[in-house]
Symmetry: C2
Subunit: 283 residues, 2 copies
């Protein structure tokens, strides 16, 4: 496994391994890897010959009062995990490599970036689209892998790839969860033991709604109410929305197309997100 810190070096390394019949997979991360990330690596390894993991805590996707400075980091451990997982290249640039002094061009997403996290984190998806767009151009992968936990991010990135004609397949992998249901997230490490217990309300609420959906409930208000009942034990529910899985606009009730029930909540000072897909055969 190679660890690379500059774009020039990355391009050289990829030029050596790339050829017409070798597929390159990219797993973009902010590091502090967990089993969710490793599932993306595993997915890449089944489909690609060369797997690149990028590790970069991207400042442009953090708001001024968010947790950029405290975002958890453990680069040595990340490297080890990548090596054990069969990653070919870890790309870990510093900030100047990604955003040199004169940097000023952004990728600006549209409607998909407006609701939910986009409403509460202004500029977040602009930062995500920009850094992912840059990583796509640096690595030029055949496939890129994202976790479903970041459902809106997946939608924004997929749209970006289509809109900007990036010839890259975007694969969304299922959310990996702790045994009790909590969605894996690097931010879980912020939680105290007591907060960790209360954080469970999020997945419990979403699962309760998904159960009800599976038993035939199609009324949007009902499904949201079932989730909200559980979710009132978090410290602050930022949003709980049932949206059309393609457009991210409020799902029409009764549900007739695949929807996603998405939540963001604070437990203590930690902001967590999660979602469940409610699948229907779209017309």
């Amino acid at each position: 496994m190679q660890t690379i810190t500059t774009v020039a070096e990355l391009r050289r390394a990829l030029a050596e391994v790339r050829s017409a019949d070798r597929r390159v997979g990219l797993v973009p991360t902010m590091g502090y890897l967990h089993d969710g990330h490793l599932a993306l690596v595993a997915a890449s390894r089944t489909q690609c010959d060369v797997t690149v993991v990028s590790i970069f805590v991207n400042p442009t996707q953090f708001g001024p009062n968010e947790d950029l400075s405290t975002y958890p980091r453990d680069f040595l451990r990340d490297q080890e995990l990548c090596r054990d997982a069969g990653v070919a290249i870890v790309f870990a640039p510093d900030i100047q490599e990604i955003y040199p002094a004169q940097f000023e061009t952004f990728v600006e997403p549209g409607e998909l970036a407006k609701p939910m996290c986009g409403a509460f984190r202004p500029g977040h998806f602009r930062g995500v689209a920009t850094v992912v767009g840059k990583l796509f151009n640096m690595v030029q992968p055949d496939v890129a892998f994202f976790g479903q936990k970041d459902f809106q991010q997946c939608a924004v990135v997929r749209r970006m790839a289509i809109d900007l004609n990036l010839p890259i397949e975007i694969i969304t992998a299922q959310t990996v969860r702790e045994p009790d249901g909590l969605a894996m997230s690097s931010r879980n490490r912020y939680l105290s033991e007591e907060e960790r217990r209360r954080a469970l309300a999020i997945s419990r609420g979403l699962f309760a709604a998904a159960d009800k959906f599976r038993s035939g409930e199609r009324d949007a208000e009902q499904l949201i109410a079932i989730a909200r009942e559980q979710l009132n034990t978090v410290d602050r529910l930022q949003y709980l929305e049932l949206v059309d899985a393609d457009t991210l606009k409020p799902a029409e009730s009764p549900l007739r197309r695949t929807a996603a029930l998405c939540a963001a909540a604070y437990v203590g000072s930690t902001r967590l997100i999660d979602n469940v897909i409610l699948p229907l055969p779209n017309p």
Copy 2:
């Protein structure tokens, strides 16, 4: 020569001609080709094995009251000119191919897009950066060619390629002019005979300032004044600015770095732009 109208077809055609040792050059145009465009094609042919000319009148770079609907078009003539010039592929997509219904992701340039044309044509360079970024991703050229007449566009596009890590060399070719000095532009065809004569004031003013610069004048106000003297015969001078050639910020006087004297003016209802570079050895 192939004429291609879809991105899928374009990728197939390029996959056939592209190989490690064959360079692909792109000349992005809005059609109605003139000798300026053909000079870009010639430049591409000296440096590249395969030259692609795109012909697309890009609606996102036109303002609501601009000349999108009347922009001159002559596709059959353009095709002939390209064939005669040794172009390999003409890519002429329709609007839906470039901006399908769900399109919503833009490339947003920064400070370089704010002065001059950016100030008078809000959103213009966002449209330019977006469509050029898309074309870059579709064609994946090694080199792309732009004319110096669109000086600010060249700066925005070059910055975009760097900022978004597009591995594409941007080459700016000298402005091609009519024998009397008028910069070639598809929009020149809007001019009546009388307007055509008065339009000459633009290049005359810029050349007068460049002459004075070559004789040693370094005072910004003086150089601007010399150009403005000629330029008062146009119907409306939109801007006449002497800017640092790298940053596009007002040049510091006396000039100590390469500057560009840039003008936009209306002659009748036709908006024309032009510029001259005042070269100095940058520190």
